[in-house]
């Protein structure tokens, strides 16, 4: 287990659960060699947990906030099922128990996630990644804002709101950061549909070529030169 300066992630998790009742912190393991395990917090207790992390565990520096889009995932599992089958045994029909492997599919609903990277400058420890998950990706994409705890989250939460569409409740000034106000989409989501402006791709290949061909020859040759040529006829 990687040491986080003075405390391991497990120790931090235990400290949070001891200090904040009902926090229900979930440890998200990271199997890679870096072993940077993260903590998933329950959104309704996140502000209290964050305040505890800042004030008691001295995580005084929030370096990065980022968003993740988890689309609906279909998971295929192999399950062993026991069932009764009628079979011919020794010339007579008998009910025999049989174990069969069956593939079952279930859909894990998608959600949006905000990841906060914390450091403690005072204790020289970190990074500690904490994650918050929304209920779903459409109508319940709300998370509590941690801007009241770490001021540096303000612009980054605005950016996540802009690009992923997570609504941070309690944010002092939640407006779009990069795109204009009238913009309706969230470009970093997996289901974002790009505007169809593939009318002119001189060196298209792969996906861009497919988009260009799908675009067809719509609007082509409608420029001023063609209009002048038509007028001259």
């Amino acid at each position: 287990m990687r040491k986080l300066g003075l405390k391991t992630v497990e120790e931090i998790k235990a400290a949070i659960e001891a200090a904040v009742p009902g926090a229900e912190v979930e440890l998200v393991p990271n199997p890679s060699p870096s072993g940077q395990h993260s903590l998933r917090l329950k959104p309704d207790r996140a502000v209290e947990v964050a305040r505890f992390l800042r004030d008691e565990l001295l995580f005084d520096y929030l370096s990065n906030v980022t968003g993740v889009d988890w689309p609906d995932k279909e998971i295929a599992e192999k399950v062993k099922v026991t069932r009764t089958v009628t079979k011919m045994v020794d010339g007579a029909e008998q009910a025999v128990e049989e174990t069969v492997e069956e593939t079952r599919k279930r859909v894990e609903p998608g959600c949006l996630e905000a990841v906060y990277h914390l450091y403690s400058v005072a204790l020289k420890q970190g990074p500690l990644a904490i994650r918050l998950r929304t209920v779903n990706r459409t109508d319940q994409a709300e998370l509590p804002s941690l801007t009241p705890i770490w001021r540096s989250a303000e612009f980054q939460e605005r950016e996540i709101f802009d690009l992923f569409g997570i609504v941070f409740t309690g944010h002092p000034d939640l407006r779009r950061l990069l795109m204009w106000d009238g913009f309706k989409d969230h470009p970093m989501r997996r289901d974002y549909v790009e505007p169809d402006d593939f009318e002119w791709e001189p060196t298209a290949h792969d996906g861009v070529l497919a988009r260009t061909e799908a675009h067809g020859n719509r609007d082509q040759g409608s420029g001023i030169r063609d209009q002048l040529a038509k007028a001259g006829q």
């Binding site: 913009f183 989409d185 470009p187 260009t212 020859n217 609007d219 409608s222």
Partner: protein
Amino acid sequence: MKIELGKQGVLVTTIEELYNWGRRSSIWPMQFGLACCAIEMIATTMARYDLARFGAEVFRPSPRQADLMIVSGTVTKKMAPQVVRLYNQMAEPKYVIAMGACAISGGPFKQGYNVLKGIDRYIPVDVHIPGCPPRPEALMQAFITLQKKIDGQHLTGEGRPRFLDAEAQGEFPVPVEGEHDLEPTSNKGVWPVPVVIR
């Protein structure tokens, strides 16, 4: 004849030559930059490359006093309406150099959601410079190319400059920030969609 008279100290010229000489010799660029190409543009104006040698004497911070718009860098979809508006505010005669891969086509950000695929979709561009970013020499080359282009223009007839053509388009429509993209996505009068030949 002209040269012979010149040797005798008599200067003979035409109105057209004099006019074009005046136009090409004092092209003042507008002082604005959009991205990293602007750093190269600044380097071009400084002592080492000294764009002032070619008549780009001063960069004017006001579009009313500028003749040349150097679109130096990535034009995001959020910035494009402002660029077109600035171009509209410039007084004729006015010229545009699209500097760098982003300004001519979108460059490395071409398939992104937020970058315009070339400023020539909205305003007429006189000279395109490829490069990421182009070196100051490339910008000076573009500037000289523009001067040659001005020198070759006739004041009357088919190929006369836009500001001498009463029927030519003077103001260019500023795109509106729509719900999904800029509207319209290009000015078809300026940028007829090229027919793709494969």
